[in-house]
Amino acid sequence: MSNGTLFGKLWNRHLILTNPEGLDLIHVDRSLLTDLSGTVGLEEMEEDGRKVANPALHAAMPDHVIPTGREDTPQQAKLRERFVRNLDRLSVQQGIRHFGRGSGRQGIVHVVGLEQGFTLPGATLVCGDSHTSTHGAVGALAWGIGSTEVKHVLATQTLWMKRPKTARVWLDGSLKRGVFSKDLILWLIGELGADFGREHAVEFAGPAIDALSIEARASLCNLGVEMGARFALIAPDEKTFAYHRGRPYVPDGELWESALEDWRTLHSDVTAIFDKEVRLDVSDVTPQITWGVSPEHVTGRGGAVPAEGAESGALDYMGLCAGQSLIGLPVDYVFIGSCANSRIEDLRIAADIVRGQQVAGGVTAWVVPGSEAVKQLAEAEGLADIFIAAGFEWREPGCSMCNAVNGDLVAPGKRAVSTSNRNFVGRQGPNARTHLASPATAALCALAGEIRIAEPEAAICPAG
């Protein structure tokens, strides 16, 4: 039973069988292998002497561990040897395509999958990374998995899954100019909670979603998992198809035509029944910034920390008091990057604000493009020059300071405004204090050297 939902249609399409205990065996059409969970999965396959079942359906690339600076520290060199080189070696050994640094295709899996057209509407896609929900932005059924499951996919091209329930978040209205999809999803997490989507596949729909660009939708679905949705999903539309046309791994000619015909059927029916449904109007959403240690610890009210109900542990960790304003707090780091916000549109938004100005003294400000393709395009458009002239570091693609796996750290006790997706305790480094925000807010904070939030303009911004 699909109950007419997009999720149900996609699930049923990939259902191989249901076992007597009610677990579904689901086919995996695409898998992305990172230099962390992907390397480990391939190493375990090697230990067992197993062959990958369908190597052509995978793509491997270093992102988590690969350094983003010019020279490796001894620690980075050691990690590179183990994780980055092994991904390359084992991918080649298994016949899996590998996008290494310098290939023109390296980058963060959730940026590269979309931009290369490896991710297709209607396909199932998995990765040993929770932010795989990103790919739902183009109507792929995509979800993050653990390392045991990574190995299972490599060995069998399938996964045993308990079918999740379905939810729809319907969004009416239009975002104000100066309010972005990052603000929208942070606001939603604040409204609905960090576990709203648990055990559910969450479809985002409505006029406010229709108005978003594909990259803005990707940022939104990326943080879907921060509201507990392992699966985030947006029905593909003409914007999606225009985005896909001509990308390297998207079929052309007759196959494109038949794919398009199929993709146009991928939406929830008018009569679809969801297990849970909410409807909200986005017209009054303001720029958001987090104050605490969960993405649900977010404020849009002029940067005010809640006066009541804020967890004392979170406030202590962040060095804040209940009821205070974040505005004017000195900022030590600004990070523009991550699978949430490192695409070309994100960099254009930030560069527009930065243009002709200077990063405030004492602020370490980085731009880490999401992929080599984004980096090249940003350089060609002159965005890199704008950032560099303003005092930003312009770095090589990777996850970098979002998860601080590769040694790109926020120093202990320091305050960062970050376009990434997690403000967890210790996430950006031991005792690092993270405030999540949009690229626009991050850029403003870099210039000011303190937390600033722009007042949104009343005019409508259909591009989101």
């Binding site: 086919h27 576990d195 794919a259």
Partner: protein, 209 residues
């Protein structure tokens, strides 16, 4: 994988919401520590003070809860990153049962794959269990019985819990899933052959580098 059937042990109350897998095991130590020793690094940001000494306020550091094997956790436990090392770290500390009102979905699945029993209780039952664990203060044993789907309080009272039958059977069997799946290889091959005809654009990638 390890099977789970029944378990008896001390229960530690840990009523903090949104404990994410970065807190359960930060990525730095996860990458540098062999799996067998991950328990030493579990809850690292909460467990140690900045000078490296034990944080006496952290529940699992308190003498009465050392050796606890059942964790009564808060809402949305195990949210965030998909890292399976979070489950390995908890196992390494000796934890076999985690009880919470809600779990992160990926973490929940990783528990099933590793023989750790995740028990989801509604808010009322969870609050009651939390209070009993606080009152017991490490001085009494709790039980978990998966075949009968009950938790047992020190006074013998039973709290029933729901679990998906598929997850339950995997935990009870403790089998290698790849081995199970390979018994279905003909069904997988047949599905793929049909899908190549139905959705050929998915498979066109086989011809590209």
């Amino acid at each position: 994988m390890q099977a789970f059937e029944t378990h008896t042990g001390l229960a530690a109350p840990f009523p903090v919401e949104n404990i994410d897998t970065d807190v359960i095991i930060p990525m730095g130590p996860l990458m540098m520590t062999p799996r067998a020793r991950l328990g030493e690094k579990a809850f690292l940001p909460l467990r140690f003070r900045e000078d490296g000494s034990d944080n006496p306020d952290f529940v699992l550091n308190r003498p009465e809860f050392r050796g606890a094997s059942i964790l009564i956790a808060g809402r949305n436990f195990g949210c965030g990153s998909s890292r399976e090392g979070a489950v390995h770290a908890l196992q390494g500390m000796g934890l076999r049962v985690i009880v919470a009102p809600t779990f992160g979905d990926i973490f929940y699945g990783n528990c099933i794959k590793n023989g750790v029993l995740p028990v989801q209780l509604d808010d009322t039952e969870h609050a009651r269990l939390m209070q009993v664990a606080i009152d017991a203060n490490g001085g009494a044993e709790f039980g978990a019985d998966l075949p009968r789907q009950v938790l047992t309080l020190p006074d013998g009272t039973e709290i029933p819990f729901d679990i998906d039958p598929g997850h339950k059977s995997r935990l009870l069997a403790g089998l290698d899933e790849i081995g199970i799946t390979e018994t279905y290889k003909d069904a997988i091959a047949a599905w793929q052959a049909a899908d190549r005809k139905a959705h050929p654009w998915i498979w066109a990638i086989e011809g590209s580098a």
